[in-house]
């Protein structure tokens, strides 16, 4: 229980800081809008192709902007060596991980709430799918992305070139999740048989649980050391 309280304390520290400065969220929103803009040059939005690329774009903007936030989340702890401060505090190291997952998840979700509608508007896309299923898929997929992403951000933060290292480590590991998320999103947006989307959702949920457990136990090893 105290793990969760500590995790929330750490998450709240990051979030309240973000509320004050709004720097990371602002950057992420602007960046994802720019990605949408670039893609609208690449795929002509007036064309019929739009329908085919929308499900992929939802996830592309999430991942691209999410990586920006993930990079920050552990680098900021290296200023003044705060991470050592956290490690010398009487808390379970895993609560640092949970706290960061929580904070990152909330930040990325907030960015999505803004950027996905922007995507639909700029691509002039009429949303006809089942909104609740769509939201569920987005949440489960994003959660998996954050679970693995936060873990690897902590790992990459040990390197000097962590900003470059993180995507290289993260994207191959995300590939099964992204396949499932994009396919699930496509099925929901095109109003196809929901039961197909449910099987993708199950795959994502299994991925989330498996990696949450693995990362939770392995995080201690990342925190150890000089």
């Amino acid at each position: 229980m105290s793990i969760l309280i500590d995790a929330w304390t750490i998450a709240w520290k990051d979030l309240s800081n973000e509320l004050k400065t709004k720097q990371t969220i602002g950057m992420m929103v602007i960046f994802s809008s720019l990605v949408i803009l670039v893609f609208s040059f690449a795929f002509d939005p007036t064309n019929n192709m739009v329908k085919a690329v929308i499900p992929g774009l939802v996830w592309l903007i999430t991942i691209f902007s999410g990586i920006l936030g993930l990079n920050r989340s552990f680098l900021s702890e290296h200023e003044n060596d705060c991470l050592t401060g956290l490690r010398s505090a009487p808390i379970d190291p895993s609560s640092i991980y949970l706290g960061k997952v929580l904070a990152n998840f909330i930040v990325v979700t907030v960015v999505q709430v803004i950027s996905i509608p922007v995507l639909f508007i700029l691509f002039d896309y009429r949303f006809l799918g089942a909104i609740l299923w769509f939201m569920l898929i987005v949440i489960v997929g994003t959660f998996g992305f954050i679970i693995v992403g936060t873990f690897l951000a902590a790992l990459a933060a040990n390197a000097k070139n962590s900003e470059m290292l993180l995507p290289v480590l993260l994207l191959p590991l995300l590939s099964p999740l992204m396949i499932a998320a994009v396919q699930g999103t496509r099925i929901v947006l095109e109003n196809q048989d929901i039961s197909d989307a449910i099987s993708w959702l199950q795959l994502m949920a299994a991925y989330d649980l498996l990696f949450l457990a693995a990362c939770f136990f392995l995080f201690e090893f990342i925190m150890e050391g000089s």
């Binding site: 500590d6 520290k13 900021s76 401060g85 010398s88 379970d92 000089s226």
Partner: protein, 240 residues
């Protein structure tokens, strides 16, 4: 003022980092209410020694015993007893002093955080700056706040890693006043320092860590003055 009994005991602690033997069979006892200073040349393994003691690094072999209890990996209870003032401040640049203290207070499960934090900020003279993000603080102000952070949890053992580095006269005086006050309260203190003046002023006992070994220890009785201590140190280091 002095009570009997060991607060902290290190038994044959050895640490190998990479291919290098950093600490060789370090054994040390810190009594209750005692102030022990560890001095030694650069690269003697002082920082590693400290990190092992605080529990940030796992010693390769050997035991660390606090109040008769062996330290287990990541034991929260033990960590609460230790106040660690590191080389860096461990403070968040974007937060205000008050927020920093409250954050750490919550992690250390301190009761009456607000009240204590306000009192400590007054004590270290940062009361008027309590709503300013500490990004703009000078090294001295940071260090004062770092001290307040350490004291917030009311630790039984204070571990200070070169606390006087980069401080001006006023801040040094403040720090020494706080340390002395803690000494009278019966807190055990372990200091790593290069600053002989301060060590002489604060410590009850001085020990030398050279090339990963504890080489010599003296009790700072009243007949040992500063030059005498310096001579003793020069001699002890030159021997090896």
């Amino acid at each position: 003022m002095k009570e009997l009994g060991n607060m902290l005991e290190l038994k044959n602690m050895t640490k190998i980092l990479g291919d290098k033997l950093i600490l060789k069979n370090v054994s040390l006892v810190l009594n209750k209410g005692e102030t022990l200073a560890v001095i030694g040349p650069n690269g003697a393994g002082k920082s590693t020694f400290f990190k092992c003691t605080v529990g940030l690094l796992q010693p390769t072999s050997g035991d660390i015993i606090i109040e008769g209890q062996k330290i287990q990996k990541n034991s929260a209870e033990i960590k609460r007893k230790i106040g660690f003032l590191g080389h860096e401040s461990f403070l968040y640049n974007t937060l205000t002093p008050m927020e920093n203290l409250k954050f750490y207070g919550k992690l250390f499960k301190v009761k009456n955080i607000d009240e204590k934090a306000t009192r400590l900020l007054k004590e270290v003279g940062l009361h008027y700056f309590k709503e300013i993000p500490i990004r703009s603080f000078s090294r001295g102000m940071m260090q004062r706040l770092a001290i307040a952070r350490v004291l917030l949890a009311e630790p039984d053992i204070l571990m200070l890693d070169e606390p006087h580095t980069g401080l001006d006269q006023e801040a040094v005086a403040l720090l020494n006043r706080i340390i002395k006050q803690k000494q009278t309260n019966g807190t055990s203190i372990l200091i790593i320092s290069h600053d002989f003046d301060q060590v002489h002023e604060l410590a009850d006992r001085v020990t030398i860590l050279n090339k990963g070994r504890i080489t010599e220890t003296i009790q700072l009785t009243s007949d040992i003055d500063l030059p005498k201590m310096k001579d003793w140190y020069a001699e002890a280091v030159a021997q090896k």
